[in-house]
């Protein structure tokens, strides 16, 4: 599979300064290769930050990546378009992250688990017993209090030294000799961030798209879910919420997200009128299952996933059934006993790139593999690994892929993560 940017080679293109204009017409089955439109001109900054690592997106993978990078000694900044951290776990209302275990053993730990565990304990909740065989995969998801999680995630970021910029998002990304200059905009704020490494945790690999690297997207994507609660009183964050599918939900830009949110809310209002029940909880926005995935140096296929392939450059485990939601619902396909998939570092690296790494559901994978990889515990694992790889790369002045795998594994273990293989 090849992917050429029109009119120029990729390396030349990346080094040409202001980046963004690209197009590609590559198609894999129903997968379409797309890239973002040309960015606006660079903005005159009001605020400037010089950091080692810039994390874009404070969701499930992003806040873990930022905490990890800062704890490992990198000067770290986190830019988040919303008002709080946690992403799907908090804003999306999927306050039951999983899965941290497989076949009776914990396979994902580290910073994500530290946050989940602490939020459950502080809230007087109960952690699942991983020794127990779950009849359904979701029985070992951890019920957390989404509000408490927001507070803890923010505290851990600030304690680690992460500088957080809410309500901002990159507009222009420019390659420099030392790394990148990223111009961000928020209301009343224009910020320029000079960084050595970018960790794109936007879910849809938005920064990767702005840079013109190839991304994959299905013609028909999985529906998003709008979470709410009707009827009885409940303990927010400690009980599962009702779910309403938002078919066609598209997280490409603010306009499509607006449409998805309005569609979801309209349906919920109709439900209230029809059922005559009180609404007792409403998340602020739709949770998106699927959008763009990068075309990485390695593509994780569903066969890799189902067979539990241990990649040579595996940096974290993942565990979840193949879980494709469609218009008719979902029929999870559990993995065979003993199977624990792994995620390679090279699936987090956009093909042909330097000094940028992704983490989260935009991991380079086919749609079916992604339906299992996209869940929160796996994203947290990826986030921590990306935090380590970016930090070591920033320190060494090399691309993340050039960092010796042994060093990445060693630092991950030092920070409590469970790492596949013995490298």
């Amino acid at each position: 599979m090849s992917n050429k940017i029109k009119g120029t080679g990729r390396r030349e293109f990346l080094q040409s300064g202001l980046l963004g204009t690209a197009a590609a017409g590559l198609t894999i089955a129903s997968t379409t290769n797309v890239s973002a439109q040309a960015p606006p001109e660079a903005l005159e900054p009001e605020v400037t930050n010089d950091v080692d690592v810039l994390v874009v997106g404070g969701g499930t993978a992003g806040h873990v990546a930022a905490i990890q990078a800062a704890r490992a000694g990198a000067k770290t900044m986190l830019v988040e378009r919303g008002a709080q951290l946690g992403g799907a776990s908090t804003t999306g209302g999927v306050s039951f992250p999983g899965l941290f275990d497989a076949w009776g053993k914990q396979v994902i730990a580290g910073i994500g688990w530290e946050l989940v565990k602490e939020s459950v304990e502080l809230d007087g909740g109960k952690l699942p017993d991983f020794a127990k065989v779950p009849q359904r995969h979701w029985q070992n998801q951890v019920l957390t209090n989404q509000f408490l999680y927001v507070l803890l995630a923010e505290e851990k970021c600030t304690d680690a030294g992460v500088e957080i910029a809410y309500h901002e998002f990159p507009q222009v990304v420019t390659k420099t000799e030392k790394g990148w200059t990223v111009d961000c905009v928020g209301f009343g704020t224009k910020r320029r961030v000079n960084c050595k490494q970018i960790i794109d945790c936007t879910g849809g690999a938005e920064v990767v798209g702005m840079l013109g690297f190839s991304r994959l997207r299905e013609e028909e994507r999985q529906p998003g879910s709008y979470l709410f609660r009707l009827g009885d009183r409940h303990e927010p964050g400690r009980t599962r919420l009702n779910r309403l599918y938002v078919h066609g939900a598209d997280s490409t830009n603010s306009r499509t997200v607006t449409v998805a949110n309005m569609t979801g809310r309209k349906s919920i209002l109709g439900k209230i009128r029809k059922e005559g029940k009180r609404i007792t909880h409403l998340q602020p926005e739709t949770g998106f299952r699927e959008s763009y995935r990068i075309e990485g140096e390695t593509l994780v296929t569903v066969n890799d996933y189902r067979s539990g392939r241990v990649f040579d450059d595996a940096i974290s485990y993942a565990f979840y059934p193949v879980d494709l939601h469609t218009k008719t619902g979902v029929k999870p396909k559990p993995l065979k006993p003993g199977t624990v998939p792994t995620i390679p570092l090279s699936a987090l690296i956009p093909k042909g790139s330097t000094n940028i790494i992704v983490a989260g559901r935009c991991v380079s994978s086919d749609q079916l593999a992604n339906s299992g990889l996209r869940v929160q515990a796996s994203c947290m694992g990826m986030g921590q690994a990306a935090g380590v790889a970016a930090t070591l790369a920033a320190k060494a002045g090399t691309p993340p892929l050039d960092v010796p795998l042994k060093e990445i594994h060693a630092l991950l273990r030092e920070h409590g993560q469970i790492v596949p293989g013995n490298a």
Partner: protein, 315 residues
């Protein structure tokens, strides 16, 4: 037959001969064909008719029979028949191998057997469906003291829908095979409550209250074995619980998931875990769950070498 034979006698003889013909043909068909209640029913009922005719035939021929019984070879012939009867009853290996050629599993729809190599269970509720579960015993298996075990089917909501093999000679199933016993009791109780309330069993059990998008499950085994609707898959699973008395180890549960629309011909069962009684749910009901096997298990893991499920279903 002499032409001077009275009509009554000749009629009885002809009836006996023709009924024997039907008996012989239906017997051969019952042996070579898959089980059919029509063939086996015909064979059995014509057999009763044949017995009645034989009685009349004997009464018509007492003179001849009396002379036959006075001959010395009567003992030899009786001995031959008794020997064959004993041989067919005890079924040594050569006889079993002949029986294995049969396309019929016998008048019962299932058959369970303990052999030198393991356990064999065959289930053929219909001509179009044949299930065989062959369990090879492991090093921990003692043929002189075989373990207790049960085989049952569960639907996708993990409710018992049919016990295929009930343990024999077991006085306390709750102790020896607690998981199967818990599942079966729950199913029986739900059936009773459903009958009393007039509700559907799935409604009574509140199937899949949480995972709404997940396929709800039928409680009718026929929906899994020979589904009428083959457009949508309705998975189910087969489980074995096995326990060796006196080994101070909990029972073990093995299972395999089956696709009712397109069942695989060969599937190996996987070890799932061991049952443990839970503290009790919010309603105070008895709850048993399975736990992953830990280092406390030794010989119990050697009871079974492997278990192969074979399903041959008419496509």
């Amino acid at each position: 037959m002499p032409s001077s034979m009275p009509p009554k006698r000749s009629t009885i003889s002809l009836l006996t001969a023709f009924s024997f013909l039907v008996l012989a043909v239906s017997g051969v068909l019952a042996f070579v064909r898959p089980f059919s209640i029509r063939i086996v029913g015909l064979h059995s009922l014509i057999g009763f008719v044949f017995i009645g005719l034989i009685v009349l035939h004997v009464l018509n021929n007492t003179g001849h029979l009396d002379r036959y019984l006075r001959r010395s070879r009567v003992w030899a012939t009786l001995g031959i028949i008794l020997l064959l009867a004993a041989l067919f009853f005890w079924q040594p290996a050569p006889v079993r191998s002949v029986l294995s050629l049969s396309g019929n599993l016998g008048p019962a729809i299932d058959r369970f057997e303990v052999t030198d190599q393991g356990l064999s269970y065959q289930y053929a509720p219909d001509e179009r469906y044949k299930m065989a579960l062959n369990v090879r015993t492991g090093l921990g298996f003692d043929p002189a003291k075989p373990p207790h075990f049960a085989i049952w089917l569960e639907n996708a909501s993990f409710y018992h829908i049919k016990t295929l093999h009930t343990p024999t000679g077991l006085t306390d199933a709750a102790s020896a095979l607690p998981y199967w016993d818990f599942k079966r009791r729950g199913w029986e109780e739900a059936k009773r409550e459903a009958d009393a309330s007039g509700k559907d069993l799935a409604e009574e059990l509140g199937v899949d209250a949480i995972s709404a998008p997940t396929q709800n499950s039928s409680f009718d085994p026929a929906d899994y074995i020979l589904p009428e609707n083959t457009d949508e898959s309705l998975p189910y699973r087969l489980l074995i619980e096995i326990n060796q008395a006196g080994d101070d180890q909990a029972s073990l549960v093995y299972a395999v998931d089956i696709d009712n629309v397109d069942p695989r011909t060969f599937q190996l069962l996987d070890l799932v875990g061991y049952p443990k009684k839970e503290e009790g749910d919010d309603d105070g009901k008895e709850v048993w769950a399975l736990y992953y096997v830990d280092e406390n298990f030794e010989s119990a893991l050697g009871l079974i070498d492997s278990a192969l499920l074979t399903i041959e279903r008419e496509k």
